[in-house]
Structure formats: structure tokens, C-alpha cells
Symmetry: C2
Subunit: 141 residues, 2 copies
DNA sequence: ATAAATGCAAAGCATTTGCAACCAT
DNA sequence: ATGGTTGCAAATGCTTTGCATTTAT
């Protein structure tokens, strides 16, 4: 009789594909981008399922949710803390190889008296790509 | 004839009050909170005007927009860069007196090859207030 | 067999926008 | 007088949710 336990999370094709899509890119995609990708494999999947599973993945620590402007969230298949660079011009998000500074949490805790357990650090500016296209001299026109 | 210049931003009672409300609090309020406050002074103001003006203030550098979770944006009347602490439990946002590390932008630029111009740093954990209510021993029940 | 998960569509919310009236310049 | 600004309401866009059905266990 103990064939099912309440609170158990089943393994489904949908969640499997969603996670693999997320792991297979470094573009920090939106839910909709994931949707379009997953649809290539599972044409009948619904957006609702994408959102539900992204949430499950984030809550179980297998993925990370990134919220920048007031626009849509982006997701990262790499769950361990790392820093990002966001291009002010094209909006692309890049991973940074900068080592994570764990000491800073302690420092913040000392001066604030709150219990600090983590931090999030993002850099802004103009990315490589945008920068080079801007500098392209436009002879003509 | 030169009585009006295109692109000029007029001074209005509405924007004035919005900015003063924003400057008058350290709670990093949402647009709706600002709306409710401003309404006490200007009962006929509309939410749309709040949003339009918050945007103008942010773009002109007089305020700052903070986006954390996928919920609503919060605004900060202090436009110069400083760090925040967000309580995972109650969601409150606090300013931190931690000095801003400008050198870190340079470091990020070196290892990334992007043009880094600024950064944003947020700490997470449990705030003072939540922490003490949690630790209150519950004798009885 | 059973409850978790899905697909679908409707609902929810924060934010934006079109437009006629209004008002600062 | 002119065009930026407002209030209002409708529209948008992302995300969530209710429900009947399907599916993993």
C-alpha cells in the first residue's frame, strides 16, 4: 500500500527536458525562451508547465532565478553562486569568472546587525559585442 | 516665440510631491505605496501618473529602481550607489552603511573584457526584527 | 489505486499606453 | 499659444491558478 508518499516529486519527461535545456545554454533565458526550446522536443507542453517546473527547480536548488529590471525573470541552470554582467545596451547576461567573496557577508553582518547569509552581485556596462559594433566607423550614409 | 522648447520637462505639483514622498522614507516603497501616500496630499492623482513620474525620476538620476523577486519594483529616493539588505522572511529592504567598492568594477572588467561601469550588490538573510520575533520563546501552547 | 503533474484557458497583477482635457511655460 | 502632463480607462505582458484529465509511482 505504501505506493505513494505525499509531498513526493515525480520525475516527468517535461521537467527533465526543461532542466536539460536550462543546463544546455549560458544565455540565462526567460521562461518563454525555455518554452520555445522545449517545444521542439515536446510540442504539446504548455507555458504553465514551464513556469511550474522552473519554480520547482529553483526551489529545489537546481536552478536560479534572476530578476533585473521590471521585465521578465531569467533563469540560470547553474545553481551555485556566481556573479553576472548585464549589458545596458542589449540586455544580455553573462557569467563572470570573478571569485565569490564570502567574507563580505560577514562584513555586512557586522555593520548591520542583520543575519546575513548570502549576497548577489551584478555588474553593468556595455558588453564586448555592443562595444565593437558601436565603434565600427560608418563610412557612407 | 521661444516660449517653449521641445524635450523640456515641466515642473508639476504631482512630480514634486512624488519626489518628496520618496525622499521622506527609507522603506524603499513600491509604486503603489507611493501612490497611497501621495494621494493623501493629491487625492485625484492617478496610478499612471505615479508610474510615469517614477520613471522620469529614475531616468533623470533623482531616484533608483530596485527589482528583486519577480514581484513589483521598489524605489529609492537616494540616487547614489549604496548597498541593500533584503530580509528573506519579511521582504523589507534596508540600506547598508557598507562603503561602496569601486575597485571591483575594474577587477570585473579585467577578467571579462566587457566595459564595466557600475555594479549592484544586495545581501540576503534574516533581519533584526524577524530574528528577534523568531527567537521569542513560546512557553505555553 | 492514488496523488502528483499536465494542458488548457481563464484569472491576476504590475505596469504601460492612448487620448481628450488641462496647465506650466 | 504650445506641447508637456494629467486622469481615466483600456490594454499589455508576465506569471499564476482552477480544473478535468493524464501519468508516474
Amino acid at each position: 500500500m505504501a505506493t505513494s508518499r505525499p509531498g513526493f516529486i515525480r520525475k516527468t519527461k517535461q521537467r527533465e527536458v526543461i532542466l536539460s535545456v536550462l543546463r544546455g545554454t549560458d544565455t540565462h533565458p526567460s521562461a518563454d525562451w525555455v518554452y520555445q526550446e522545449v517545444r521542439k522536443v515536446l510540442p504539446n507542453i504548455s507555458l504553465g508547465t514551464i513556469y511550474r517546473n522552473l519554480r520547482i527547480l529553483v526551489e529545489s536548488g537546481e536552478a536560479m532565478e534572476l530578476a533585473f529590471g521590471s521585465t521578465s525573470s531569467r533563469f540560470d541552470g547553474n545553481p551555485k553562486n556566481h556573479y553576472h554582467f548585464i549589458c545596458d545596451q542589449c540586455g544580455n547576461v553573462y557569467d563572470l569568472a570573478l571569485p565569490v567573496d564570502h567574507g563580505i557577508d560577514k562584513k555586512a553582518q557586522e555593520i548591520s546587525s542583520h543575519k546575513v547569509v548570502s549576497h548577489r552581485l551584478e555588474f553593468y556596462g556595455v558588453c564586448n559585442e555592443c562595444n565593437s559594433s558601436n565603434h565600427t566607423p560608418n563610412r557612407g550614409s
